[in-house]
């Protein structure tokens, strides 16, 4: 009986998650799906892929999304990694304050922070520039990236680093031979989370980007608002293709590697 309830809850939850995904996919590949029909009259995957490879707007959105995400990853990791090493390994004055500071971009309401930073970006002349947009994305990615990296580094403490230094390794040697390999899992998590957060930003990209970076999530918005659900869904499915599939592949590859290490 208890097993049955658990199964029922599992099924309800799966429906809750998958039903919207299914609707989006059907919208994107379905033809002439009008009220009150329950299912599209025709399903045509070919037309979706044709759009994906020939539609200029879709392709520019895709490249805008991915180049912004990659830029954000580089900027986020180069700030988050050193910060996380300090937070995980050292005790110093102001550590508590720094810990709070890191989370502030997530605590301050998005609309307040965005209008403030946009105002500043205009002043700095970064409004509508690539650097400006990846900076605002980075501001929202940093809390997640730092948290994931700190959790991972704190698990191991810096005992290995201390041993390595004791045995005469230089600071750089210790970093490349010990710290970097040990934080592989944390870095993977941070990169994946940064990718997701950057890809899903809407208002940040629109405001600071001055409408010049029409990413997939930015373009979905006006189509949804105008009731053009099919074309919005085409962008949605493209979004799924470039986030879910690569992330699951990386995840599967990493756990495969881990198993191989344990076996040998």
């Amino acid at each position: 009986m208890k097993k049955l309830t658990k199964l029922a809850i599992f099924l309800i939850f799966s429906c809750f998650v998958f039903l919207p995904l299914l609707v989006i996919v059907l919208l994107a590949v379905g033809k002439s799906w009008n009220y009150p029909q329950l299912l599209p009259q025709q399903i045509n995957f070919g037309s979706y892929f044709k759009l994906l490879f020939t539609n200029h707007e879709l392709l520019t959105s895709l490249t805008a999304s991915i180049s912004l995400a990659l830029g954000t990853i580089v900027l986020t990791i180069s700030i988050a990694y050193p910060t996380a090493i300090v937070l995980a390994y050292y005790q110093f004055r102001g550590k508590k304050l720094l810990n709070i500071l890191v989370y502030l971009p997530l605590i301050i309401p998005g609309i307040a922070l965005l209008t403030n930073v946009d105002f500043m970006m205009i002043k700095l002349g970064l409004d509508g520039s690539f650097l400006g947009v990846i900076s605002i994305h980075t501001l929202f990615c940093l809390p997640y990236a730092i948290k994931l990296l700190v959790d991972n580094l704190a698990l191991l403490h810096n005992r290995y680093e201390v041993v390595s230094r004791n045995l005469g390794a230089s600071g750089w040697q210790t970093f490349f031979q010990i710290t970097l390999p040990l934080s592989k899992n944390g870095l993977q998590g941070a990169v994946m989370m940064t990718y997701i957060v950057s890809m899903t930003q809407y208002l940040a990209t629109l405001l600071v980007g001055d409408g010049k970076y029409l990413t997939l999530s930015v373009r979905m918005f006006p189509f949804t608002q105008a009731g053009k659900y099919k074309i919005a869904a085409v962008y949605g499915v493209t979004f799924m293709l470039v986030t879910l599939i690569p992330l699951y592949l990386i995840d599967a590859w990493m756990s495969h590697q881990e198993r191989r290490v344990i076996k040998s």
């Binding site: 939850f13 998650v17 919207p20 050292y90 502030l104 307040a112 209008t115 979905m220 949804t224 869904a233």
Partner: protein, 292 residues
Amino acid sequence: MPTKRKIILLLSPFYLFFTLFFFSAVLKSFVTSLGYYPIVGLKKIGLQYYGSAFHSATFLASCERTFLFALFSTAMACLVGLGLAFLFNGRKNNFTRIFFKIAQLPVMLPHIFIVLALLQLISQTGLIPSLLVHLGIMASINHFPLLVNDPLQIGIILTYLWKEIPFVIVSLVLVLRQMDDRYKIVAVNLGATKWQNFWHISLPLIQPALINAFIINFAFNFGSYEVPYLLGNQQRELLPVYIYDLYVQGDLTQLPLTMSLNLILSLFSILFAGLLLKIGRFLPGGHTGGSK
């Protein structure tokens, strides 16, 4: 290299970045909110904009509405997420592994995605009303309750639940998996019931992660613009829509007011997060639980 210099060196990218894009932005809007905005000839410094913010009935009503809305939707997400995380957290079980993978999906997709699906599903000409009519449960789609752009903001709440229940699950399951099983075994050995086990062992250990998730979700629900804009009710406007409209309307003399509203909200959110953390310290597990 001495440790102190190394720490300063390692922290410099972070502080440089935050000074450029965060502190300066807050400082700039603080100065502006005091009424100093020379571009449009505003130079009178004072608290007048804060005063007019606290006297504006629309702002205060919108604040209260948004606060209650955010509190309710966040509490729902955290409660359901907590329950599900406890039901499915085994590491060796294949079933729960699949559950965890499914829970990760909504975290990876943007809000606009679920908004689009909801519009197709539950608006009055959507799929669910059509299905109900088709099955004969409802006589016509006009009997279906208004669920998007409705006064109770049900559409927005559903969107947030879809995104946030999985977020809570993912953050809690990660902690639950690292938890030391020995505490539980000892407790059971000493005769603890299931409920005691939950209340005295598991909850204290995950409580900090739960509070964190609550704070992040609350701040989001309180201050995010796009979902209330698309699914909200125009008579009962939520705060983010109100502020965004004020910011983009182009009247530069209104900017100090917008900035003062922003700072009031920011300060309020920080204080509220602080309060939640304080409450967390008094709940079981607040002193040692989860700390490393």
